[in-house]
């Protein structure tokens, strides 16, 4: 076997005649924070549900820790903690009792409850009924529940959904600390690329049920090629002049664009333009943000 913690092959889920998840090969290595990205409705949650054994794949296989989910579901789940979409909790119970209800099923030691409460900083609210908690606190309780069984793999589906900025930062820091401090591998899904940028080491992008990109975050960044934008007095005349000199430039009404050039070439262009008495107003670098790449990859589905 190889060293993938999660490996799916041709994972497919069909509802009626529509493919919600189509031939997804998810590969998550040990110790990674794997960011699972995609617009709303792309199939993230369905994929995660299948990985957790909550939904049955129409086709394809899932191996976690090298074990087949179909055969060894329960022994796999023993080492997996999960938080799927909105937090599940029992509102009439206190945070402590909520954890107790799950702890009994996991057969974890009682002391583990206090440990996870302190990890998510809910120790002081442990004796309050959960229905009075803020969304952020409920989300943290959900993460605490996921951590109860000392998992080796944590699966978090949209853990920062609906949180305020400080809540998001808190959850993010919590997630980032996990692999370092506890050696946990994390699969975290989100529709926000900006969020993934700040914590993921690997990313998988899913759109309309299909995996369209899966690699390290730095590879994704490399795609953000930059171009130089020049604003001059007479755009049309200058761009014709540059083309006649053999430079590959594009232009619109206001700007001239030079793509994939070296610093030396830019300097050369500018020197020539100055020598030809052109007024240069601005020379700027335009960098494609990850958001734009994401949009390009997902075919412009607006969901940022």
């Amino acid at each position: 076997m190889n060293d993938y913690i999660i490996e799916t092959n041709g994972l497919t889920k069909k509802y009626g005649s529509t493919y919600v998840v189509n031939q997804v090969d998810l590969k998550v290595k040990k110790g990674e924070i794997y960011g699972f990205l995609g617009p709303n409705g792309a199939g993230k949650t369905t994929t995660i549900r299948m990985v957790l054994g909550l939904a049955r794949p129409t086709k394809g296989s899932i191996h976690i820790f090298g074990k087949d989910m179909k055969k060894d579901k329960l022994s796999v789940l023993k080492k997996v903690g999960s938080l799927v979409e909105y937090p599940s909790y029992y509102g009439h119970l206190t945070a402590y009792e909520n954890l107790e209800a799950v702890r009994i099923l996991l057969d974890a030691p009682k002391s583990r409850i206090d440990e996870v409460l302190s990890i998510v900083r809910l120790t002081n609210d442990a004796k309050r009924p959960v229905k009075g908690f803020s969304l952020g606190m409920k989300q943290r309780l959900g993460i605490a529940t996921a951590l109860l069984g000392n998992p080796e793999l944590l699966i978090l589906d949209e853990p920062t959904n609906g949180l305020d900025p400080s809540g998001i930062i808190e959850i993010r820091e919590l997630i980032k600390s996990m692999p370092k401090e506890h050696g946990i591998t994390i699969l975290v899904s989100s529709h926000l690329l900006s969020e993934m940028e700040q914590m993921a080491t690997q990313v998988g992008i899913i759109s309309k049920g299909k995996m369209i990109f899966q690699d390290s975050i730095s590879t994704l960044r490399q795609r953000s090629s930059s171009k130089i934008r020049i604003k001059v007095s007479d755009t049309e005349a200058v761009s014709k002049k540059l083309l006649s000199w053999g430079y590959k430039v594009g232009s619109n009404e206001n700007y001239i664009f030079v793509e994939n050039t070296s610093d030396r070439e830019i300097a050369e262009i500018i020197r020539k333009l100055v020598n030809h008495q052109c007024s240069i107003y601005r020379v700027e670098e335009e960098k494609k943000s990850l958001e734009q790449i994401f949009l390009e990859l997902t075919g412009g589905e607006a969901s940022l």
Partner: protein, 236 residues
């Protein structure tokens, strides 16, 4: 399996369910107290041959519909604990088989209803003593009449827990249960094979045990069917 039950008991803490378990038998016994208190002379004259049997007969007229209604509400509430915040996805992603979770819910319902029957038994005995029906108490008969209806009604417990778990909208199981309760109230004229008649413990052979046996067998069948359906389903 013990773990699943223990976890279920943690979850029903501070829920109305526990209150209902007491309310059912308490309501039945106190209504009978009023019944006998208001028409003491007439009823004691009517049942003068066997006062205890008379009392138990009156109790059962109320306890069986309450049992049918009670099991509907209890199963619905037990399932609803998970429905409220869709905790199914949390529970079923734990290393516990779906069969155990389903069975745990059914056993919890059975146990709570059993407690109700015990309270009904105690309450009936106390009521009889208060009414000065003597200390020559037919314990075995009282036990039979308090617990056998529950055993014969087990197919309905299995049916209701399955419906309550599978339907997110609790109106469906509640409607089925309430219609069932109404049907059971008029079931005395039904043929013996109709399950709604079984909790009355009345059959052609004149022995309640046949109703119990039929109930337990059908309960196993309904349970197996419900379980298979639950396992097959994807978790919402």
């Amino acid at each position: 399996m013990g773990k699943v039950i223990a976890s279920e008991f943690v979850k029903i803490k501070r829920k109305m369910i526990v209150f209902l378990v007491f309310l059912g038998p308490f309501g039945v016994v106190s209504l009978e107290l009023v019944n006998f208190w208001l028409r003491y002379d007439w009823l004691t004259n009517l049942y003068k041959d066997n006062l205890w049997r008379g009392l138990i007969g009156e109790v059962m007229m109320l306890s069986i519909p309450s049992l049918m209604l009670g099991l509907t509400i209890v199963t619905s509430m037990i399932a609803n604990i998970e429905h409220q915040t869709n905790a199914w996805k949390q529970v079923l992603a734990l290393p516990v088989s779906k069969a155990k979770i389903f069975t745990g819910k059914l056993l919890l319902s059975g146990m709570l209803l059993f407690v109700s029957c015990m309270l009904l038994f105690g309450g009936t005995i106390i009521l009889g003593i208060l009414l000065k029906f003597g200390t020559d108490i037919p314990f075995l008969y009282v036990i039979k009449m308090c617990f056998f209806p529950l055993f014969s009604a087990m197919p309905f417990v299995a049916l209701q827990i399955w419906l309550s778990i599978v339907c997110k909208n609790q109106a469906i199981p509640l409607m089925v249960g309430i219609v069932g309760t109404a049907v059971s109230m008029f079931s005395i004229t039904f043929p013996d094979w109709v399950p709604w008649k079984w909790p009355l413990l009345i059959n052609e052979w004149g022995n309640p045990i046949y109703s119990v046996i039929a109930g337990l067998i059908l309960a196993m069948v309904v349970y197996a069917g419900g379980l298979l359906d639950f396992i097959r389903r994807d978790v919402k």
